[in-house]
Symmetry: C2
């Protein structure tokens, strides 16, 4: 296992320390380094707090900043943050307008964010939006339902913009509950991931194999298939996603091609080129695009395709200024 780390025990803390130092104009650590928050908390705004296991960087810390999250709590690799971390983040960012928790649908995350919400309920107004954007077809039978994957970027961006414009907690909760189910993601892996604690690949693929329908925790996907040209792979991903999306309101498509950790930009753009053509063939107008490495699974080689059908209001919220480490644009 060749990785740029020192020890498995210290890698998350060292990487986070580097992240905060590199973006000290945007974020700060809390005093105990339990979470990362915006340098400038905006009084009167609803606080947006998210988090989850490490190993998915730049998610979520890379989305802390003006127009997106107020704080992000990271656990160890593929491990939920503790309720205590989350409570501290709520306390540090809620200036009275309440706090919206944005949670990816995994048992551990759901449980710990719920527990934190209960622990803070006597002092803070709290609502939760759950993200579960993987396609139905990606799912082996799971009690917990669709997993939350790269769609988190879209939810955090759009709710972050609405909060920045002054939307109250109830409005943000309703907006999130309406938006999240309209996002669909499907991923493909060319390699498994090596978890530093075990120094083993979570699954092994042959030189001509790929894994379809993977999540972001190194778990095997839905099917193992022979490797194929990019057009074939993207057709399968896109057509599965499109079949799982509502049939109406297809005029504002947002297409995200997300690298899972070790896929270079040139290949992501080539995949985008294929995906856009295929998606538009199905009558969805791609109005906005994002191509890059945003939600990773450690050093996995692979990518995911996310498609979301936006309303006109959501399109304007997507376009609103944002200033975070991983997503940044102006008016």
């Amino acid at each position: 296992m060749k990785k740029f780390i020192n020890t498995a025990e210290t890698m998350v803390a060292e990487s986070l320390a580097g992240f905060v130092a590199a973006h000290e104009d945007i974020v700060v650590f809390d005093s105990d380094r339990k979470f990362v928050r915006r340098r400038d908390i905006k009084a009167g705004k609803v606080a947006l707090v998210s988090g989850g296991g490490s190993g998915h960087e730049p998610l979520h810390v890379g989305f802390v900043g003006r127009g997106m999250l107020d704080a992000a709590c990271q656990g160890h690799v593929f491990t939920s943050p503790t309720p205590d971390q989350i409570v501290r983040a709520i306390e540090a960012t809620d200036t009275g307008a309440g706090c919206l928790l944005i949670v990816k649908n995994y048992d551990g995350d759901v449980m710990n964010f719920e527990m934190a919400a209960e622990m803070a309920a006597d002092r803070h107004k709290i609502e939760t939006v759950l993200i579960g954007d993987d396609v139905e077809a990606a799912g082996l039978p799971r009690s917990q339902g669709r997993r939350g994957v790269a769609g988190a970027v879209i939810v955090e961006k759009i709710l972050g913009a609405a909060a920045e414009r002054g939307a109250p907690l109830e409005t943000l909760k309703a907006l999130g509950d309406d938006l999240a189910p309209r996002i669909r993601t499907m991923g493909v892996a060319l390699t498994g991931v090596t978890v530093p604690q075990t120094q083993r690949k979570t699954f092994a693929l042959g030189p001509d194999e790929m894994e379809m329908g993977v999540g972001i925790h190194g778990e095997p996907g839905q099917t193992r298939e022979p490797f194929r040209p990019a057009d074939d792979i993207l057709r399968h991903l896109c057509e599965t996603i499109v079949a799982d999306l509502p049939k109406d309101n297809r005029k504002n498509g947002l297409l995200l091609i997300n690298g899972l950790g070790a896929t270079p930009p040139a290949e992501l753009y080539l995949a985008y080129n294929a995906a856009r053509r295929i998606v538009e063939t199905h009558g969805i107008a791609v109005r906005r695009s994002l191509v890059g490495t945003y939600v990773t699974s450690l050093d996995m080689s692979g990518l995911s395709v996310t498609l979301c059908l936006l309303s006109d209001d959501e399109l304007s919220l997507w376009d609103a200024p944002v200033n975070t480490a991983a997503l940044r644009w102006g008016e």
Copy 2:
């Protein structure tokens, strides 16, 4: 070789088409798809044109836009653009104030940009800035001198900002000739790269080996060494760089940790954390930082460290607004 491509012949064109489609608000293709240029050419401004082989994305196309390049010409993988491509880019972007060519120091690039400058000389005022930022120690004996690598990002950003502020051609040439020699880069590879045309790795490394002093074309580096913890690797890179930099004016350090294609963000931030500490131990104040995948070598796993000592003016030019696909910030 598992890559998201269709054929080796079409991969560059397809990836570029995806890039332009994804960033259609910032860039356009020229009508023959020979180069990528800013959507809005600013009349009266000196035109900045760069380019080189493909396989280094987002360099250079990702740096086309307001505050950076006016056009970028890409050749095939690791192959210079033709003089014809470059002449067409000069013609499309020079509105009368002249054109500055920014060229990485490789024989093929130098020759073709020189030939283009001669071909266009009767109709355009042209100057050239050459980038050769790899450390002396990285060099096997080479007639052409230091190679141009990740330092290109810094030269293109700072000259781009100066051009946007209205600096005339002679000033930009002097600024570039002064800045470029104050940038030093050194890279390390954990894997070779697979060139799609040959389907072979350019060099093979064992599971416990790394290659020190690599460039960005898959050529072997200076030494093959046993793999070590991140702190040891970064100490070697940083100390070699620092020893090769001027001893004075160390108050405005700019530190760039660049992924070579397949290194995930979390590891780049961990490397930054180590590098910053080591660099500051040597009396260089790190005032600005950039961590990400900016200048790649196809799917190479590895990273490079770049350090540059800026003047106060250059610091302000670095901070100036920029709106490109790969680098974007406001006032």
